[in-house]
Symmetry: none
Subunit: 420 residues, 2 copies
């Protein structure tokens, strides 16, 4: 089945925002075995939108449209939609209730502009938006289905995941499909590709597809099988994953099954701690609170996360975490000695099972010949032992922060698993 | 002058790569006053490419094409190009020399496949590629110019900057253009739209365009002017911005001039602190390190950021930050009393000019009738005074974290500016 994606909004055409919505929708459709044949971005102008609709009608069975559904004047997708389908806009009671409760919950008054959010083209099936106020719409023209969604990414994603994708699965006979993603950490894309070259070749012999999905701090390897019999596809993929596990055990830290919540290292570590009823505290200097924010982004983190410290200045490392002043004068703050003290002392301070200490040079400035930008020391401690490691990343500040945080989580994961 | 951008490649359509080329090209063209009216991504298939060319011909004077120029079999842009212009591919000596030296420099042999990189459609102007092996091409059909470039970002960018954009400037008389974006915080898109309705109407009377660009925690308002005289456009836009500032002074926290680095609240606050040689420390509970990570993501943060604490558990709030145990028993951790103590005590602990305290219920669990999910208390303190505020956000954990952090930065910004 062929699909296409239309993004509406001048902000895309002037390059002010990166169109991540199209990327995400394309990923979801591809994973379901739907063939995305075209993507386009058009202006907030009725003519441009109608032209895109006309062309989509000739090419695709499913047309996904994002953007142009807000309450303000530059948004005219809904009006264009109604004109295109030659129907009036009518007030939808269910949507009006949602919009109404959205505003009253926040102690705000419902204005006339807000009420208009509940207008939908007559005859459209409404896709409820529980994260915002603009509803989605599902309309049929000839043999083609047009699905209009808001451009706000988390509203669009919630609609897709909760309503639209299940509806498509229910209405159409799609090919069977099985995906599984292997999560690796501690090795780059090209080195990984060399290590697993033979294994990768054996995949295509079985009709399986492999995708490398690199991101700072990890490379995800997605193995996909398309065909008739799901059980058969699953067996093929799982067999290959077993071979891969035997090949690179030290780099694999988890698996992601498609359709489940994407797993990151922070989820894996949090689950390990929850299972064991253990707790964690963090003293992070160069990552500046990012590691704590990764962990606390997960609901329920408060059950295992005792707390964190961002001792950015040396004075704070000394006064709050008992790092001896002599360390700064001899080996410096970016050193084994410093992170060992941070990990041990933060653990004691918060009375947690484990403590993490991180100190490094995030960049872009602050590097020396001896200690270049990207140098990071990390330590994990429990009450009996402490393991420090040294890593060297590149010169991009944000990447160094992300990669150091991931490396710390992976060190903790290994620490937890090996000791028991 | 109207332009459009076509990206060729299945890797875009399956969502495997984010199409940053189009964003970058759109930015460059917009800055030159060229109006990008359409963007599309099509498959590596002759039919799809030809269809995109045909439509572009009707719409635009300049068509920028990226991708599909590599030496491997799935790349057929060049062949399609030659067919479309009804000319043969011919060997270009100058390109062949570049390709040849590219390989010999790297100690590699020139294969037949590599030699074919030097084939170009007869009659095309070649755009030399000094960063790689695939040349760019500039061809005219009817009144429209097609410019084909490789998909590798740094090869494409070098061609654009060094050759293509100067060539366009030399050949065409371009209009002037001026954009400026006003950054607002603390008000939603629809309430803002009502507040500034009259002002917005006066914009169109002057031929200016307004775009609302909402994101969690802020709404950006972009005002654009197109015309003959840049100074005139600039005056028009700046005059309107003055009226807007008078209309909603309490919500505006900054300005973004198009083409400059995008500004966020954390940049603005950091700059204020740097100018004043003042410092900041943070005790953040429900934001879990996110606020510290926003500030420390900026190079040079160490000059003003003394450090942070994430006292997630009440025990940590008490032991590390001196929050009286009686507070938890009476008004609870999400209270004015708690954040006032956090802000004051973190400031003292780190000996910084300002202290921020945050405590709230990020959700999705943990809410009660009296203290629902999304309730957040924030306080800012210096050595003389402390200002606490209470806010009520929604029920999405990540948004609550982002919005609370932005609100804290904005409270600090106002605190700093009003006291002097």
């Amino acid at each position: 089945m062929k699909a296409e994606i239309i993004s509406i909004g001048d902000e895309i055409l002037i390059g002010q925002i990166n169109n991540t919505n199209s990327v995400w929708i394309a990923q979801q459709l591809t994973l379901m075995g739907i063939h995305v044949v075209h993507m386009s971005s058009v202006s907030d102008e009725e003519n441009a939108i109608v032209q895109a609709f006309d062309q989509a009608l000739l090419r695709s069975k499913l047309v996904f449209i994002t953007g142009g559904l807000g309450p303000t004047k530059d948004d005219l997708t809904k009006k264009t939609f109604a004109n295109y389908f030659k129907v009036p806009l009518v007030m939808n009671g269910e949507v009006l209730d949602v919009v109404h409760s959205f505003f009253t919950k926040r102690g705000r008054e419902l204005t006339e502009i807000n009420r208009q959010q509940a207008l939908v083209p007559e005859g459209s099936e409404v896709i409820m938006n529980y994260k915002g106020t603009a509803p989605g719409m599902w309309m049929r023209k000839n043999d083609c289905i047009f699905i209009s969604m808001p451009g706000v990414p988390y509203e669009m994603k919630a609609m897709m995941t909760e309503t639209i994708l299940p509806k498509i699965k229910a209405e159409f006979k799609l090919p069977s499909i099985y995906h599984k993603t292997v999560l690796t950490n501690g090795i780059g894309e090209s080195m990984l590709a060399e290590l697993i070259e033979d294994w990768e070749n054996s995949l295509s012999a079985e009709g399986l597809k492999l995708a490398y999905l690199p991101q700072p701090g990890m490379v995800r390897l997605r193995i996909s099988a398309f065909g008739a019999d799901l059980e058969d596809l699953k067996n093929k993929v799982e067999k290959q994953i077993l071979s891969l596990k035997a090949l690179i055990p030290e780099y694999i830290f988890g698996m992601e099954t498609f359709g489940e919540e994407p797993l990151n290292l922070q989820h894996i570590v949090l689950n390990l701690l929850l299972e064991r009823k253990e707790s964690l505290s963090i003293a992070e200097s160069c990552t500046g609170g990012y590691l704590a924010s990764l962990i606390t982004s997960i609901p329920g983190a408060s059950q295992v996360f005792s707390g964190g410290l961002v001792p950015y200045a040396n004075e704070a490392k000394h006064k709050l975490l008992g790092v001896e002043l002599s360390i700064f004068d001899t080996v410096g703050a970016v050193s084994k000695e410093c992170v060992v003290a941070l990990a041990r002392n933060v653990r004691e301070k918060f009375n947690s099972t484990y403590g993490i200490g991180i100190s490094g040079i995030a960049g872009p400035g602050g590097g020396t010949e001896e200690k270049p930008v990207g140098l990071v020391w990390i330590a994990v401690a429990d009450k009996n032992k402490v393991i420090p490691i040294q890593l060297q990343f590149g010169d991009i500040r944000q990447n160094n922060i992300v990669m150091s945080s991931n490396a710390a989580l992976n060190l903790l994961r290994k620490f937890i698993l090996k000791q028991k």
